[in-house]
């Protein structure tokens, strides 16, 4: 409609009054008192400067915000006007009514500004994010890791003993469906946004760096506390989840800019992959398009730089930058057992547990406490291509890191631990696959109901990881959605699964490399042919938590509500007395 208006009916638009404006932050936004945010009003058409007015609770917005909203007569690439003010704050808690008027048309939204308790309940907050973590991943991790006898689990996951829970709605502002950028952005800012966006509302201009900003967790912690900030991931450090702790961009793919934004906030501990965006373009392996050398800059700023597990263990005190891979780090199954993926090139990568330990050792030295975000990035990265063994192995590793944090919490009870996913995948366990069932037809080897029995994974010396994943009676996990692919009913022992590849018509077709696996069957996809792998599910996420402040997690909550619980626990906006 907007584009029609802009191109075909240009003249009518010029004379007609604007019909409906969009106000950012959007209606029903919840805003941390005192946090800086951008206000933008996008009118649907061109309006005259004198006609555009904004009020907050009936008073001129300029006087309430303490700065004027600049009038933009014609926004780039549009035939429409806008009003914009950067980095304003609202200190007074309560509901506020914002009305934008142009001529005879008005648009009204309400915002809720909230303060926090004056005193922090939690000195430390550890936020565990399992990317794509769904109920099936948890159940499979428990079954594969602990086993089951006569219907009762032979042991519990660390996350099983977190005592508070909530169902979390993950939808984005533009769609019921969602991605890892907008979901983590909601957790880390308290504002929902659109797919691909981080720390901003999504406006209509093309520029991916000019969208209306909201404050990120790292910024809020830096502004209001002396807490240390740490991030530990197995993906690139510029990937959507870690980026959302720090950055502002409409496009999560702006990874060089994201690396700059992360380092500008001087995190105390930063461990993960993605060194390609820290290297200047002249260095082979760099993915930057400029000469910035963020590694050199970090060293000059006093960081210890570690590139292997050995170097991580040897690192001295002070801020720590661990870059263990040019891209995403290898997954636990490849690192620990199969040595596939890129393990041969990067043979000494630390795991999530070692990285979490290194972060806790360092961050806990800060007398004012810390905020630490730990992400098991590849639960999602292996669920997209239907590589369930790798996704579950990483879930077990995630749980081991949570177990470590629970021990830390036992010694430091002023620590809030939150464990959640950012979105789900359409995956379920339906039983087992039993190679010893008769015949060559793999479908007939799927054990359902009573025939499923129990899987026969083995564990040497009580290891939480099974000795091998290709046992004769293993978990049968299947996806609800998929591109065309060959179902092999077997773990992918030769490297992570690539189910489909793109053809000349930009459509994804089954990867023929798996066609000849004994028993493989062609499975025709059920999602559009331009989807390369399984997509995210819209199902709720299960959040669990323990420690001071965890009692606020209950019932159904939006992802944006979770930020407020964290803000309350750390007292990021102490109410004025």
């Amino acid at each position: 409609m907007k584009s029609l208006c802009a191109s075909v009916f240009l003249i009518p638009c010029l004379v007609a009054p604007a019909s409906a404006a969009t106000i950012f932050p959007l209606d029903r936004a919840t805003i941390l008192a005192g946090s800086p945010f951008d206000v933008k009003v996008e009118f649907d058409g061109l309006v005259k400067a004198g006609d555009a007015k904004v009020t907050i609770d009936g008073k001129p917005a300029d006087s309430v915000l303490g700065k004027p909203l600049a009038f933009i007569e014609k926004e780039d690439g549009t035939e429409a006007s806008a009003l914009l003010a950067r980095a304003v704050t609202l200190g007074a808690p309560g509901r506020h009514t914002i009305t934008a008027t142009a001529g005879s048309d008005t648009k009204t939204v309400t915002w809720e500004v909230y303060a926090t308790p004056a005193k922090a309940e939690a000195r430390n907050v550890i936020f565990f994010l399992g990317d794509g973590l769904s109920v099936a991943h948890r159940t499979a991790a428990r079954l594969m890791s602990r086993g089951m006898t006569e219907g009762k689990a032979d042991g519990r996951l660390a996350m099983d003993d977190l005592d508070h829970m909530a169902f979390i709605g993950t939808s984005s502002t533009g769609s019921i469906a969602t991605d890892s950028a907008n979901t983590m952005s909601a957790y880390m800012t308290g504002h929902k946004t659109a797919v691909n966006a981080l720390g901003v509302y999504v406006d209509r201009t093309k520029d991916s760096m000019d969208d209306p900003r909201v404050e990120t967790m790292a910024e809020a912690v830096r502004r209001t506390t002396k807490k240390a900030v740490g991030v530990v991931v197995t993906s690139e450090l510029e990937d959507a989840t870690p980026a959302a702790v720090f950055a502002h961009t409409r496009k999560r793919a702006e990874k060089a800019a994201i690396a700059d934004m992360i380092m500008a906030l001087k995190p105390d501990v930063l461990l993960g992959g993605g060194s390609a965006y820290f290297l200047p373009q002249a260095v082979p392996g760099s993915k930057r398009k400029d000469d910035k050398d963020l590694i050199q800059d970090a060293r000059a700023a006093g960081y210890t730089v570690a590139t292997t597990s050995t170097e991580l263990k040897a690192a001295g005190p002070g801020p720590l930058l661990g870059l263990f891979h040019t891209g995403n780090m290898d997954v636990a199954l490849d690192r620990m057992q199969l040595k596939k993926g890129t393990v041969a090139k990067f043979p000494d990568q630390p795991g999530l547990v070692d990285m979490t330990q290194a972060a806790l050792d360092r961050l806990s030295q800060n007398k004012d406490g810390f905020f630490l975000m730990v992400e098991a990035s590849s639960i999602d990265k292996m669920s997209h291509p239907l590589d369930w063994e790798r996704a579950v192995f990483d879930t077990i590793e995630f749980d081991q890191a949570i177990g470590l944090a629970r021990k830390f919490q036992a010694e430091h009870p002023d620590t809030l631990i939150v464990v959640t996913g950012d979105h789900t995948h359409g995956v379920s366990i339906v039983g087992t696959i039993d190679d010893d069932k008769p015949g060559p037809d793999m479908r007939e080897k799927v054990g359902t109901y009573a025939a499923a029995g129990f899987p026969n994974y083995t564990h040497t010396n009580g290891s939480p990881y099974p000795d091998r994943v290709d046992v004769s009676r293993r978990l049968a996990l299947f996806a609800t959605n998929y591109p065309d692919y060959y179902e092999t009913f077997r773990p992918k022992m030769d490297g992570p699964f690539v189910p489909a590849i793109q053809n000349e018509n930009k459509q994804y077709v089954a990867n023929e490399a798996y066609k000849t696996v004994p028993g493989a069957v062609f499975r025709e996809g059920n999602i559009p042919r331009d989807e390369d792998t399984a997509v995210h599910a819209v199902d709720d996420v299960v959040l669990q938590a323990a420690g001071p402040g965890a009692g606020e997690f209950k019932g159904y909550m939006e992802e944006s509500d979770v930020f407020r619980v964290l803000a309350d626990a750390m007292a990021l906006a102490p109410a004025a007395k």
Binding site: N196, A253, L279, P284, G327, A500, N503, E504
Partner: protein
């Protein structure tokens, strides 16, 4: 119908490759992906001696053709493994770090052979940005031709 069209396109795409491949392949030095770099670390990649010595010479490499930006293109990316790029987990910049960019003699229509291809061309080594697309590459095969294995 699709199959017929596809076979036709495959034939079309292979024709110039077959025609051109013969002279270029003569004496072409085989080079594998594992031989490109002698060192890989988060601080960067180190070109191998074999790669440096083969600079300017005719080499032949085997790999997979990654989906190009548009169907008819003069260059494409050769990868060690088949690639499926996920728009929401990756961006166009998310190539593996050991890719080779292949510049063909003239634009060809991309056909997904869903199988390895063998590319022959003159080896170029060093950072270079494609002026048309801005695509940055370190290792290139120019004046190249390819065929399915």
């Amino acid at each position: 119908m699709t199959l017929v069209r596809r076979r036709f396109l495959e034939a079309l795409a292979l024709m110039p490759a077959v025609l051109l491949a013969a002279p270029a392949r003569a004496g072409a030095l085989p080079l594998s992906f594992d031989e490109l770099y002698s060192g890989v670390s988060p601080l960067g990649l180190i070109f191998s001696d074999k790669l440096k010595e083969a600079r300017g010479k005719s080499v032949v490499m085997q790999g997979f053709m990654a989906p190009p930006l548009k169907a008819e293109a003069k260059f494409f990316v050769l990868t060690q493994q088949p690639m499926a790029l996920c728009p929401f987990c990756s961006s166009d910049a998310d190539w593996p770090d050991n890719i080779v960019v292949v510049y063909l003699n003239y634009p060809q229509t991309f056909v997904q052979s869903n199988a390895p291809i063998r590319v022959t061309g003159l080896l170029e080594v060093g950072s270079w940005r494609d002026p048309e697309t801005g695509f940055l590459s370190l290792v290139r095969l120019v004046g190249a031709s390819f065929r399915t294995v």
